[in-house]
């Protein structure tokens, strides 16, 4: 949390200086990248599946109101109660109020990035409700008192060695052996009775299925089932972009989601919830609440970021991002890190506060290449840069430098002169083939050599050689 008070660059430099963090990032993203590549090699129809997924999302986004109303109608018919939240604050207030109305002392949560987005963990803690994170990684985040650093692996920033040490300090009956299995058992012993004693379960949703009013949640651990079954009340929070027309469409989305996220063929656990317990049901909640959250999504529709609403939160963009793989997720300072986070965070926090995010990108396009719904992430990031320029948020030195460059580049004769002069100045500082100690080049030469220019420009030499032509 204290990270938020540092500037992006200061946070970045701190992350770059942390070798343990780099080991942790490399393990997770490296594994994710290898598994995804293997899954792709075994799924030649991926391009077709991806195209279908993109078209499903685009269709829903173009008909958002229709599907939202259809979903609401069917959810109510199934016995669910539906709430609409325009902002993050409204959404978390609704959830806290529902918990209080249920007399909840303890709530269990299934990992949901939307829950993080609306500040739900904090709101529940503030309300004095005992919040139990049931996802193993979220449990680690909760024990560490920090925030998720990845949307699929929230505790990616901790090495297993660090987690082992933390479990030993904090668990009632910690593991003895240093194996992953023993550590998972330690968490299981710690959490199992809490699963069973919670009053309210809170989950997110990967899909909202319009024609039935059902919600769909995928997990790798089965904690969604275990969390949502025993408590009397189940609350689902979901962004309005999670809609799909039908179950068949949800399955089509799952085909690309899981391969992109973990490289598996199918999700470990895929849970559908539809309304509260009905007469004759053996289990299920007595109350089923669904909170539909806008929080900037309709604004994104209006402001040219329609494609971003396709995002299914798989994490492939960050796993393949050279910047994320150096920094990890916390440096981004928002709920969502990596390329998709760099597009989304300015929507939530305002561009002025998060101006660095769309700029700290090399525009290499890998994120778009691996995105299962083909979101043009570099184009969207450039859109923020364009806006930052128009709103005057760019530093004066950048504006001046580019202004001078454009002035000359529009005047070829002056441009030749300026180039010739720049070459001569650089050569004054050149030794052994590289430029050293030249004012203005420090950002480059602090870390690498700057190759010296040849004596004369191409255009000068070409004119001499072929002047008669």
């Amino acid at each position: 949390m204290e990270q938020a008070t540092l500037s992006f660059k200061a946070r970045a430099e701190r992350a770059l200086a942390d070798p343990t963090l780099k080991i942790a990032i490399d393990r997770t993203t490296g594994t994710a990248e290898r598994k995804r590549a293997l899954a792709m090699s075994q799924f030649p129809q991926f391009e077709a599946a991806r195209d279908r997924a993109r078209r499903i999302k685009d269709h829903v986004i173009a008909n958002l109101e229709h599907y939202l109303l259809e979903f609401e109608r069917n959810a109510i018919a199934s016995g669910a109660k539906v709430y609409w939240a325009a902002t993050a604050e409204e959404a978390s207030q609704i959830v806290v109020r529902l918990c209080k109305e249920a007399g909840a002392k303890r709530v269990t949560r299934v990992k949901s990035m939307l829950g993080e987005e609306i500040g739900l963990p904090h709101a529940l803690d503030e309300a004095g409700i005992d919040r139990v994170e049931t996802d193993l990684a979220e449990h680690i985040v909760q024990l560490g008192g920090d925030r998720p650093s990845h949307i699929v692996w929230p505790s990616m920033h901790r090495t297993r060695e660090q987690v082992s040490e933390m479990f030993k300090r904090r668990h009632r009956a910690p593991h003895q052996e240093e194996t992953i299995e023993a550590m998972v058992d330690s968490a299981r012993r710690e959490l199992r009775d809490k699963f069973l004693s919670a009053d309210v379960a809170i989950s997110g949703a990967n899909f909202l299925i319009a024609d039935s009013g059902a919600t769909c949640t995928v997990t790798n651990e089965g904690n969604a089932e275990l969390t949502t079954t025993p408590p009397r009340v189940h609350i689902v929070t979901a962004g309005i972009e999670k809609l799909v027309p039908s179950m068949g469409h949800a399955i089509a989305m799952l085909r690309v989601l899981v391969r992109s996220a973990t490289g598996a063929d199918v999700t470990q656990y895929t849970t559908f919830h539809c309304g509260p317990k009905q007469a004759g049901d053996r289990d299920g909640p007595e109350e089923f609440h669904i909170v539909l959250v806008d929080n900037g999504r309709t604004r994104m529709l209006r402001e040219g970021m329609r494609e971003m609403l396709r995002c299914i939160r798989c994490g492939a963009c960050m796993n393949h991002c050279v910047v994320f793989r150096q920094l990890g997720g916390h440096v981004y300072g928002g709920t969502y890190p990596g390329p998709m986070g760099a597009v989304l965070t300015p929507v939530f926090d305002g561009l002025e506060k998060s101006r660095d995010l769309p700029h700290a990108c090399t525009m290499n396009g890998k994120c778009q290449e691996v995105c299962p719904v083909a979101i043009p992430l570099p184009t969207l990031l450039r859109g923020w840069r364009d806006r930052s320029w128009r709103e005057g948020l760019e530093p004066g030195v950048v504006r001046f430098g580019l202004g001078v460059h454009t002035f000359f580049a529009l005047r070829p004769r002056l441009y030749r002169l300026a180039t010739a002069m720049a070459i001569r100045v650089m050569r004054l500082f050149s030794r052994g083939g590289v430029v050293r100690g030249m004012p203005g080049l420090g950002a480059w030469t602090a870390h690498r050599e700057f190759p010296a220019p040849a004596r004369r420009s191409f255009m000068e030499m070409y004119k001499d050689q072929e002047g008669g032509r």
Binding site: Q326, T362, M363, G365, R382, E394, W444, H447
Partner: protein, 262 residues
């Protein structure tokens, strides 16, 4: 994208404008002369329009779309009279092909001119292979090389096989694969000076991968990326030498490598 002429025979002595790019013009003219030599060897009538400057990518990627549009119009006026435009850079060609229509989106007539010119604008190695069906003859260089695929050329233009096909014809030269050959080197235009610490971490990993390849030479098709990687290799004291692929293909790799005393 660039294979639309895959079944037709190459054009007969087309009039080709060489866009040397601002970086090659100022920093490494030998790449421009290598491109000139290769295009002529491929049977093109090559001209170097005098009014050429910069494609406008720094402005565009900094969010200064208005100035990028001005430079795009200047580029279009300078180059649209030729059969083809060729540049020894996937990045600059990616700007003109993929992004000029975006930069000029407010002006449909200019955006259309941009699209039409974009269809005739090529990265050097893809032009030589896909359009001219060219293969270098009698070029010899003993040694091993590894190849970095610069991102814009790879993802915006589909440049991958072409440089390898051409370099495969150089006798004595063997390819040593580069782990993560399609991973960004951390250059990113102004990114490398706006976020130098992050850029350094990325190029540091790239330099390690290049050294692990065991190759003597690092080749690529974009001078910006090559200067970044060569600069890092040199700072590390590496013996790997970096050249633009065009220099090798034109038999001009006997001069100093990037960052060597010339």
């Amino acid at each position: 994208m660039s294979n639309d002429r895959s079944v037709s025979s190459p054009p007969s002595s087309p009039r080709v404008a060489l866009f040397v790019t601002c970086l090659v013009d100022a920093m490494r003219p030998s790449v421009g002369f290598a491109a000139l030599k290769l295009l002529r060897a491929a049977g093109c009538r090559v001209e170097v329009p005098d009014a050429q400057t910069c494609c406008g990518q720094p402005a565009f990627n900094s969010g200064d779309t208005a100035d990028a549009a001005r430079l795009a119009r200047h580029f279009i006026e300078t180059f649209e009279g030729y059969d083809y435009v060729v540049a020894p850079s996937g990045s600059c060609v990616g700007m003109t092909r993929a992004h000029y229509p975006e930069a000029l989106a407010d002006d449909p007539a200019w955006a259309e001119r941009a699209r039409r010119l974009g269809e005739r604008t090529y990265e050097l190695t893809s032009f030589l292979v896909d359009v001219m069906r060219f293969a270098p003859a009698d070029v010899k260089l003993d040694g091993s090389f590894t190849y970095h695929d610069s991102c814009s050329g790879l993802r915006e233009l589909g440049v991958h096989d072409q440089p390898r096909a051409l370099l495969g014809k150089v006798s004595g030269l063997t390819l040593k694969p580069l782990e993560g050959n399609d991973v960004c080197c951390g250059f990113g235009g102004t990114f490398c000076v706006k976020y130098p610490a992050i850029s350094n971490a990325v190029v540091g990993e790239k330099a390690e991968a290049i050294e692990r390849s065991g190759a003597q030479l690092l080749l690529g098709g974009d001078l910006g990326c090559l200067m970044n990687m060569a600069g890092k290799l040199k700072r590390k004291g590496s013996a790997v030498r970096a050249y633009h692929a065009a220099e090798v293909l034109a038999g001009m790799a006997d001069g100093p490598a990037i960052g060597e005393e010339g």
